[in-house]
Amino acid sequence: MNQHPPPLVRAEGLHKSYGHRQAIRGIDLAIWPGETVAIIGPNGAGKSTLLDLLLGLRQPDGGKVHYSLPEPRRQIGLQLQNAPLFAGFTVLENLRMFAACYGLRCKKAELLAMLERCGLGEAAHTNAAHLSGGQQKWLAIAIALVHQPRLLFLDEPAAALDPRARRQMRSWIAELAAEGVSVVLTSHDMDEVQQVADRILLLQDGHIVAEGTAEALLATSGTSSLEDMYLKYTDTKEEVRGV
């Protein structure tokens, strides 16, 4: 008998509205251990709302989110798009603060090692508000990883990064996947998505219009690039599921 581990997160029939606007309309989704899932779609398609629902930051109007992880909040890391940080705190203090929020008493050397890994070793004692946009993003990543999560949510991790930093980010996501961390990311960068994602979900108007591996989606859509596939499905609203 073939026994698969259960999905880390399973969403069933998710619905969410803001006033009369339906942001999410009946989404079913499972995130499996060790996979990297990219959620793509136009602005306003519902990507951020979907992440919020999966994270439990908002309550769905309909449907449910199930976690197979014990104490999910201790096992999930989150990087938000705008890299929110405590103003007036140094880089090290921000990391220490969030580590404490996860119930961790990290030694200074441990925190410094983590900052070093994210290229922020020399900025450890700098006021976080004085970091460049790219550095703030890396600090947000360090915060998301401080408790060694099994599931990581990244909201446009490579946005506002220069090409070198983007490349670093991609190889870093690949490293995490190799370590067995499940990653769910949103992105508008189709090259990035093609390189890092095991599975892609294309969201439009609050529901999934295409889902599958990059190869399967290309084959099913009859397009030569993910960007063409994206343009095709977000234009026609045709629905496809490639496996």
Binding site: L55, L78, F89, E93
Partner: protein, 248 residues
């Protein structure tokens, strides 16, 4: 929670609102008015007023600005994704404010004793600590409440002025209200800041502390409980969150 509180205290020392409202303003007021009037009896009133102002601005105004700024940056949304309970976070923040208020109060009392000859012994200091702790809890909760009601920093500024100015003007913090119109005296009896000033004045100057302190302390405790409840009910993790909904 100790690590969170300690880190917050460090951050607060570098916060410009804290520097202006929590440190410079009460210090300037105590020293400026104290040197100008040079009256021992007035010095006691002035010290109580400066301590109360320190607490009001530090706990209410600075908290309100701090909370809304962090919320708009998305810090609270990120905190919500952690296992830290809301109550622990609010308690840590209130505790950090209390420590800061105490530190500045020590400086203010030191100036009151050293420069203006105000008499204060260990027993009085003990009661002052009790008053400042309860007052700090209540007025910090009021700061959270104002930040919850406001949509942005402009509204916080408007709300905190609308609240703090009438509280100060009708409190008798820096002048006697004996000659004030009846309606001002009535307003004074109905607002919590008056009782904070009164409790501090009793703990600095009264010979019958216990007999004089129970009413203002009782009012302050009730105020703290009410504000904490309202702040908890209206707490918003992100700017889009609705009032009176703890989740969703």
């Amino acid at each position: 929670m100790i690590i969170i509180m300690r880190t917050m205290i460090r951050g607060l020392w570098r916060d410009s609102h804290t520097l202006i409202w929590n440190i410079l303003f009460p210090l300037g007021m105590l020293v400026g008015l104290g040197l100008y009037f040079r009256d021992p009896l007035y010095s006691e009133r002035l010290l109580a007023g400066a301590l109360a102002i320190n607490l009001l601005f530090g706990a209410t105004t600075a908290t309100a600005f701090y909370v809304i700024a962090q919320r708009h940056r998305g810090v609270y949304k990120l905190l919500r994704a952690t296992p830290l309970p809301t109550l622990s976070f609010v308690t840590a923040m209130t505790g950090a404010r209390l420590v800061l208020t105490m530190a500045i109060s020590v400086v203010l009392v030191g100036i009151g004793i050293g420069l203006f000859g105000v008499a204060a012994g260990p027993l009085r200091a003990g009661w002052m600590l009790v008053v400042l702790t309860i007052g700090s809890a209540g007025f910090t909760a009021l700061g959270f409440l104002l930040a919850n009601l406001a949509r942005d920093e402009t509204q916080v500024s408007i709300f905190s002025n609308l609240v703090s100015l009438p509280l100060i003007l009708t409190s008798g913090a820096f002048y006697s209200l004996e000659q004030a119109p009846g309606w001002v005296q009535t307003m004074s009896q109905l607002q919590p800041f008056h009782y904070l000033v009164e409790a501090l004045r009793v703990s600095i100057a009264s010979d019958t502390i216990l007999a004089d302190l129970w009413l203002p302390l009782g009012v302050l405790t009730a105020f703290a409980v009410l504000c904490a409840l309202l702040a908890a009910l209206t707490f918003r993790w992100d700017p889009e969150g609705r009032l009176f909904r703890l989740r969703g």
